[in-house]
């Protein structure tokens, strides 16, 4: 197996891009990633997308997007694992390069979510849960995460205010990210006084509906300096695991075993410990999600995630800054693109390109992307060389 480097990243406008079709949203980010390198061709491409079929009535994205990228006939695959589709596409590209099968591979993610109304989006997203045994009974994603939150509160004393601090922290970071969909700060009171979606989750505990894409170019580390003059970033570790998609089939609702297993693999491959990380981008689709994820990643002890944002542990300047990009909460959450966007942010951190939100001297950064209530999880660890 060869070492793999990320040599180029691209991320474009995120938000409600009513005037732009999915193919253009993808191509803008993909071209930016290519322009970030000196490559003159691609050998292959993987695109993560959760459900373009339900959002825009279009499947067969692999071929459509290769064509519109000006790469007709390129081997291309579309990867789906709910909201973890993007990171899983990156994993596929990683192994294609690591194996020696290809040298220059694009990994990307895209989602166009605003062509349907709120109800259409709720339905499309709900397909990441068990259609017959969860959704049939009227549960929604906010209510599934709410049930995880209720258990976490019961077991560990986590409060609504603790949850609010996650949103406040991520908006504070996102305010320093010009690309974020909601690049402004919010207060704890604003979160707690926002409308209740599913008790105890307020609307400001939830990530938004977003159109957006992200892309990265991978190549063997030994060739990387040929294709970029920027600081080199190595993929040091990858982990991937699944869990039941029905939340009720897990012993503990508030423990993300899939993420814990994926993280264990990634740490082992990278040969580092959670304490060695300088930054992390994690899947805060809801505020409670970030709390559970940092526990599963070993960034804090099990049960201690609730107070991390409030105490500043996970803020810029804290022990381990989490979601310097603003996270899904402030930056936006075009579901299939999120996992790749996390890799874009950590790559920029390791290259020292994050401006006001830069973590000084960042050498190791982690990304964690998950689908549904944690039924799929992919963890990457990146290293500045």
């Amino acid at each position: 197996m060869r070492d793999v480097a990320i040599i180029g990243v691209g991320i474009n406008r995120w938000g409600e891009l009513w005037e732009s079709p999915l193919r253009d949203i993808f191509v803008e980010s993909a071209l930016e990633a290519i322009a970030d390198t000196k490559v003159d061709h691609l050998d292959s491409m993987y695109v993560g997308c959760m459900t373009s079929g339900l959002f825009i009535g279009q499947e067969h994205l692999a071929s459509l997007l290769a064509d519109y990228l000006g790469q007709n006939h390129l081997p291309s695959a579309r990867i789906e694992s709910a909201c973890a589709s993007g990171a899983l596409a990156a994993k596929c590209g990683y192994f294609e390069v690591a194996s020696g099968a290809s040298d220059i591979v694009m990994v990307a993610g895209v989602e166009k979510m605003t062509d349907v109304g709120g109800d259409g989006a709720t339905y499309a997203l709900s397909t990441a849960a068990d259609a017959e045994y969860e959704v049939y009974h009227g549960v929604t994603f906010p209510s599934l995460y709410a049930m995880m939150a209720v258990e976490h509160m019961h077991l560990y004393g986590t409060t609504s205010e603790d949850l609010a601090h996650v949103a406040v922290k991520n908006h504070k970071h996102g305010a320093k990210n010009p690309l974020a969909q909601f690049p402004f700060e919010i207060s704890v009171d604003a979160v707690l006084n926002s409308i209740m979606v599913a008790d105890p989750l307020h609307i400001y505990d939830c990530s938004p509906i977003t159109d957006g894409a992200a892309a990265a170019i991978l190549c063997p580390l030994e060739m990387a300096s040929k294709f970029t003059d920027k600081p080199l970033v190595r993929v040091a570790g990858i982990g991937h695991a699944t869990d039941t998609i029905a939340l009720h089939q897990r012993k503990e609702l508030s423990w993300l075993e899939g993420t814990a297993r994926a993280a264990k693999q990634a740490y082992k491959q990278a040969d580092i410990k959670p304490q060695d990380l300088h930054c992390a981008e994690v899947h805060d689709c809801f505020t409670i999600a970030e709390i559970m994820v940092i526990e599963a990643l070993g960034l804090v002890e099990k049960g201690k995630g609730g107070s991390a944002a409030k105490e500043g542990t996970t803020a810029l300047g804290g022990k381990i800054p989490v979601n310097t990009s603003g996270g899904l909460k402030s930056k936006g959450h075009p579901v299939g693109a999120t996992g790749v966007a996390q890799l874009v942010e950590v790559t920029k951190q390791l290259r020292g390109e994050c401006g006001e939100r830069q973590v000084e001297g960042a050498k190791y950064g982690l990304t964690q992307n998950m689908g549904g209530t944690g039924g799929s999880a992919v963890v990457h660890i990146l290293e500045a060389i």
Binding site: E132, Y136, H137, G138, P142, S143, L247
Partner: protein, 133 residues
């Protein structure tokens, strides 16, 4: 939401809480499966789950999907039945403030929703707090 074939094939679970018991290790599966993840066994016998259980967690849906929009706010819950099997369902006839983790419930057969137009009415299980019984 469902075609009638799709609806009909789930009826044993939705109407009668029919689970499958592994003949090798007695693990219960709801809904039934074809292979046991505990012992690898492929032979099962039908098992009617207990209708008694307790609340594992719950939430109140205040913004619901279109099929349930007339029911909001409604309570959803993960319930653990006496057999140890867990399932997701609504809690009927209760106020949010009456819910708590560990609250004893009984599973009842109720209407879940309607498909709209000339569609079929969906039935299934809901939990009811035992203090009302």
């Amino acid at each position: 939401m469902s075609t009638s074939a799709r609806y009909t094939r789930e009826i044993p679970q939705r109407y009668r809480l029919e689970a499958a018991k592994c003949k090798g290790c007695s693990k219960l599966f709801f809904p039934p499966r074809l292979i046991c993840d505990e012992c690898g066994g492929k032979e099962f016998e039908p098992h009617r789950l207990s209708d008694k259980g307790k609340v594992v967690s719950y939430s109140v849906v205040r913004i619901g999907p279109s099929q349930f929009v007339e029911q909001v706010p409604y309570i959803v819950s993960v319930v653990e039945l006496e057999d140890g099997v867990r399932l997701t369902c609504q809690v009927a006839d209760a106020k949010p403030e009456e819910l708590e983790i560990g609250a004893p419930v009984t599973i009842e057969f109720r209407k879940i929703g309607e498909e709209g137009d000339a569609g079929i009415i969906h039935y299934g299980y809901k939990a009811v707090l035992d203090r009302f019984k």
